[in-house]
Amino acid sequence: MTNWTLFIPELYSLGAAGVFFLFCLCRPDSRRDYGAAMILSALGLFLTVWSVGFQGSLFEGVYRVDLYSQVFKVLIYCGFFLAVCLCADLSGVDESRHSEFYFLLALCTLAMMLLVSCVHLLAIYIALELSSYSLYVLVYLRRGYQKGLESALKYFIMGAASSALMLFGFALVYGTGQSAYLVDLMRDLPGRINEPVVLIGFILALSGFFFKLAVFPFHFWAPDAYEGAPHQVSAYIATASKVAAIAVLIRIIALSGGQSDRLAWFLIVLSVASMTVGNLAAIAQKDLKRLLAFSSVAHAGYVMIGILSLTALGYASAVFYGMSLLVMKFTCFMVVVKASENGRNISTGDLAGLHYRAPVLALALLLALFGLAGIPPTMGFTAKLLIFTAAMKQGLLWLVIAAMFNVVISLYYYLQILKAAYFIEPEGQPPPIVVSTPLKLAAIAMILLMVAGGVYPGPVIDLAGDMTMGLFP
């Protein structure tokens, strides 16, 4: 007997997507779309928060609702809601396409909510594809941007290729495990993880999530997609999509049972390569969104440190890291959206004078950048401390040192942004940036979250620990 109450948040999201689908058929009206999106996403956020306590299983065990999935649904909806908050000035997208824009965004959110709850390989694949396809189109929705097609195509081809690899990996895993249910696999896989076919299948199966998370060598789409997409979509990819990828990556890697040194080594190599490539490439970037894309690649590497320790503490730290990324990356994109005129791309230098054009945004940016660089007392530091503790418990001192060196490299370009925002005087007299009251409140909320996550993260750490406990039945 299916208990449909457990499925209410998803049904609601489907309904929200349906509303926007109806809007697509009507005459375009961007104010109506924006208002509806704000209301629907805010309501959905409340609904997901309300459903946090749900426990249970749906559709013959394909779909599991537990604390882990529900908290991630809240985070994903947060990402959706915050991305919609940035849409007050949606000048990067053609006016007549606004309904489609929100429709795809809602659909993608729904897909990710499904993704974090699926415990069946095929269902995971379908949910992943659904979310990816929405994003491919969203990236292409940018108005009047020459390179938009290239970005979208690159994103699509990379995505399709990694999906193919992942499907092949699923086939190998299914072939050896005789089941597509993660519950069954969890019983069977840990003992056999070091068999070549299982290991290769497992690693290939991860590639789809590496693509989502932009882990080296699946990261090539990231800079182009971030650059070519509308700002709000870039923000969404950098926050909600990353969080969902972390969620499902942890779920899959937890299957290995934490007994495989070979798997750990493979992940270590990817992690170090991601951090290094991401940070070094970011130094050379002029476009702020490309820079943030490469910094995402580097952060994927840091997240992997938590995951690759293959312990409960490591998974919990990766979850915490995901949460902190959501907050910090959103803050950065909020500044990008507000600082750009008419949805144009901005370079680091365009932030000049931000400290008096929008003091609150500048302060939020400062904290977000320090957080991304892992400097105390911000949430980003706590996240790094957690993943380092997890890795150190596995005796990976040198990996931690390598990661910290990367942090120093990254600090160079974060400081360049900060210098632009606080020190460089703009040419001419650009007018102050008008920040609407709700957005100002959002910025202040982000500031408080980032500081609270740095000085008093106890409750959130406990929550992350509780969430990951459920992964080991």
Binding site: H355, P376, P377, K393, V400, V408, L415, Y422, P457, G458
Partner: protein, 515 residues
Amino acid sequence: MELHAAQFPFLSTLLLFCIASLGLVLVLPKNSNTAVKWVSAVCSGATLALALFLFAAYDRELGGMQFVEQYRWIPALGISCIHGIDGFAAPMLLLTGIVFFTGVLTMWHLKHRVKEFFALFILLVTGVYGMFMALDLFFIFVWFDVSLLPMYLLIVIWGSTLREYGAMKLTLYLLFGSALILPGIVYLVSVSGLDTFSLPALAQKGVFSGFEQKVAFFLFYVGFGILAGVWPFHTWSPPGHVAAPTAVSMLHAGVLMKIGAFGILRVGMFLCPQGWVHWAPLMAVLATIGIVYGALVGLRQTDLKFVIGYSSVSHMGIVGLGFATMTVDGINGAVFQMFAHGVMTALFFSAVGHFYDQTHTRQIGELGGLCRVMPVAGSYFILAALAGIGVPCLASFWAELLVFIGAFRVYPVLAIISLGVLVINALFILRVVEKTCFGPMAVHWAHLQDVTFGMAIPRAVLAAAIVIFGLMPFLMYEVIQTATIPLINGLNSLAGQTAADSINTLLSQWMSRLP
């Protein structure tokens, strides 16, 4: 490490006072420059008074950690908030108070982006205070970083010569240091198996193998050593000092570099004594190279701030040499030197800052005869120079004397080399004084203003500290001693030797007879 709980949370009060002032400065309206300055001045004055009180109230008979407060913080990770000061931290708090207070007064005439300057300045000092009183590795690291980052903006926005280069270099170097400290801390915590970041708990219950101590100590030594200006990681320091505005230079050379040395002492030496013993020869050699190198490179400089910057490298080398001796005299001297150098260099930068404000040059060749137009500023400059070269009856003299007494027993060759170079350097500094303050004066300097009475206050405070602790070194010595003797005793019991003579030195006996 004995812990003596506080009757009243003095240390938290001090920190909260700083944080509250920071908040107040942030919420004051944009153009209330005077109010911002007064808030900063009151904050710095009050914390100085509190630091002075703590220094005086520290029980010399009792020793150990006093004024200890403990709060739960993140139980999930074994992080608690512990404050406490011992004989090493009490002088450092006093030093911070003095430099903070004088720094704020020195910047009284600032006009450009006043609110932001003082906000960052208070934030930086909060980090420094926190670092000196923290007894939890997590907080030590947090405060360490909090005290570093405002530096970047402080230099980039209000700095002078090559500020962008200097600020970026400084920040990256120091953060590179913290990139070694954090792994070191996490490493020690996880190999201890105690799941606690508390320093007293780790020091008492933690059992670390020789290898673990060596690895961790090396990480701490290099990590904190970068900030302490240990050769060859010192290259950020002179350009950073030169680029920074006066008060920031004062704070930086005066207090921030001490944080590095203090970190080595507090984290490295307390937790990893075997690592300390193992790496001591390397520390001694690097420290000596630092002393020699700083002094000799200083000879070639034509910019006054560069001269002080390199002399800082040299003086911090003396601290390092003191640490490496592993004797009571050496450590006493090193900590004394941290205090004495802090006060001295703050006075130096403050005096040079005034010269620069008036003449808009720091080139030694262009200056001359300044004592004729500004006798007060000139005399503070001369006093700082004399203290810097270690003239008796000034604070630095006792510090250097103690370090070299220790060093002569353990590393005689290195001590002789260092002393020889310091003598040459002293001659050079005297020549700098002669060229800037005496001799013929260029005509266009005739209109220069001397320091006003208000601006003389901070310099007078610094000068008083130099002279008081120079005439009555036992005030400082007795406090430091309470922490040094248990540390060295622990080291000796570790090595299985009693080595009583390394504790009761001639000097300590002689000093204890002084009134």
